[in-house]
Chain length 357, copies 2
């Protein structure tokens, strides 16, 4: 039987409760397929700040690097919002992404048939939406140098950041996106602001160049302002989207909200080699933390992505996906996806476990 | 009788046809209120590139500066999309904004009762939505230096831009936004990415500082990824939004699409002093140009904003707004807002004129 080491990073807010459920689900699904999983829980985010004074302790990064895959809950909360930059939970998240070199963030936005009514968009607009946003995750304005505060020539304080991409950074994320598109609907839409920004002009040029390696994938380009509209107007036109770190942050959240199932959506962050990082796309939701109200399905589905993309354990992943479908088919819901006629199941954690069979 | 000089910049695609209608509407509405308008049409965008080889001829900027207000149609088109930066129609637009110093871009996103069904969002979600996005327009990553192409230390080509804001740039747009919010619902939401970017941290700090001058306005802060979701989830929570140039580009387009009435929405760009720039938020739509299919109402409503904010001619502005309402009430529609039971009126331009009485 195969055996793997999984780093768990529960983090803040609802992070610990959803990771704890997903861990149990992972164990059960793995065991049934002869995949043994050993878990090690490490500190990150606000939890790490409170315990040891930094958002990403060295031991956490080292343990994550040495493991086979990482499952993260969520980080952040009002409590740390006015911390200085190096003491923000978010800085821990950015540092672990960079430290693991996970430059490709895959964010599916899928409308599950059972949840089509949860969207604020009309049924005919969202039914069948199945978008994959491939977001560049370790470059661009999130990491570009120079950055910081200073004084301009009028003696005024300024704040600045650098949006920057190199050819190799664009090429590698483009290749991942074309590969993903090839396995999906065969359509890739690259989103940029090449009518204004040089960083986007280079982005467009390189994505266009890489396209010649993937003649079977249909490439289109869209400006980011238009993309943010088209997602609302006709989300079904999209198959796979590739974009930079900052636009990916916004567009993937917008796309997920369009499905109405933000509490349902997982993500995978992967690099050239080394362990991948798997996390729900929702945040730490401090307002409902500890009340057993959080929807654990996004983390459970992230665990499925971990099995599939991180460990190549497709059968175990399939078991989890089926369990989620059956849980929903049985009518169990958390508050965020509740609709009349379904069962509001605060103890949904337990039920999700039951359905892994 | 008062008399004013108006610069018309028809631009590209559907620009000339919608500006031509709005010009007639302006004349009629002005005349009825004793406001005489003299028009001068100038070249800009792709039209200027084709005619004289630059996207913003010096004479155009000079004429615009010397006039009392500017009405712009739209610029850009596939034809010029692969031009070098200094030969892009968009560069002309950025240069006229900078040249006029119009740092505050007001973009209303309103759901008109007659058009509530045009939205892809459910009626109960969009009914009554009335958002004003105040976008910073002459700073940030659109204009920040350094920018360009270069080589990194690995010898690779790079593309880069600088997101940068100074205290005075933030303070002046914040003051405009607080003033706007004060005259509306009294709520201002400032959108940034202060959990990651230094430019946003300074933004949040200064907006918070300026709030003390406006104790009657309720200020909140939201991260941009969350804002892009919240606009889809519950747009009615927003009254006035203030944000930077890049986020404003996306969020105002997203907000306008949520109303379903993108062919209906005007915008005003104003500075400390000097003439304002008024334009529809929609683009040049080259695909339908010259077919008399374009919805002229966004430009007509921009003309109303020109009268109101640009010339202080509130009564003339009111006439136009009433004419638009009556045109819609009479059932006239263009293709973009057509729904069964309304009249698809290709010759709608003429009708809109008729209704200014
Ligand atoms: C918490 C924040 C730093 C992060 C990001 O912007 O990348 C989050 O919004 C996300 O999308 O994972
Ligand atoms: C055409 C483009 C340069 C422009 C912008 O990004 O500002 C447009 O999208 C807008 O919003 O007015």
């Amino acid at each position: 039987s195969r055996s793997y080491n999984i780093t768990l990073l529960p983090g803040d807010g609802i992070g610990p409760e959803v990771v704890s459920v997903a861990k149990d689900v992972l164990s059960v699904a793995g065991a049934k397929e002869g995949v043994e999983l050993r878990f090690r829980e490490m500190l990150m985010g606000g939890a790490a700040l409170d315990a040891v004074g930094v958002p990403l302790p060295d031991e956490t990064l080292a343990a994550a690097r040495a493991s086979d895959a990482i499952l993260l809950g969520a980080i952040g909360g009002y409590k740390w919002d006015s911390n200085e930059k190096h003491l923000k939970p978010e800085t821990g998240l950015l540092n672990i992404r960079a430290g693991l070199g996970v430059f490709a963030n895959l964010r599916p936005a899928t409308v599950l048939p059972q949840l089509v009514d949860a969207s604020t968009l009309k049924k005919e607009v969202v039914e069948g939406v199945d978008i994959m946003v491939v977001r560049e995750l370790t470059g661009g304005i999130y990491f570009g140098q120079p950055r910081g505060f200073g004084t301009n020539d009028k003696g005024e304080e300024i704040g600045f950041n650098t949006e920057i991409y190199s050819v190799s950074e664009i090429d590698r994320i483009a290749r991942v996106a074309f590969e993903v598109a090839r396995k999906r609907g065969g359509k890739l839409c690259s989103v940029d602001k090449a009518n204004v920004l040089e960083a986007s002009m280079l982005w467009r040029k390189r994505v266009t160049a890489i396209a010649s390696e993937f003649p079977d994938v249909e490439l289109s380009h869209m400006y980011v302002d238009n993309a943010s509209m088209q997602l609302v107007w006709n989300p079904k036109q999209f198959d796979t989207i590739v974009t930079n770190n900052s636009y990916g942050d916004m567009l993937s959240d917008e796309a997920s909200m369009i499905t109405g199932s933000i509490g349902m959506l997982p993500s995978a962050s992967v690099g050239e080699s080394g362990p991948g990082l798997f996390e729900p796309i929702h945040g730490s939701a401090p307002d409902i933390a500890g009340q057993d109200k959080a929807n654990p399905l996004a983390t459970i589905l992230s665990a499925a992505m971990l099995l599939k993309y991180g460990l190549g354990a497709e059968n175990a992943a399939k078991r989890i996906e089926t369990a989620v479908t059956e849980t929903l088919d049985s009518g169990f819901r958390t508050g965020d996806i509740y609709s009349p006629g379904t069962l509001l199941c605060i103890c949904c954690q337990a039920n999700n476990k039951t359905f892994v069979h």
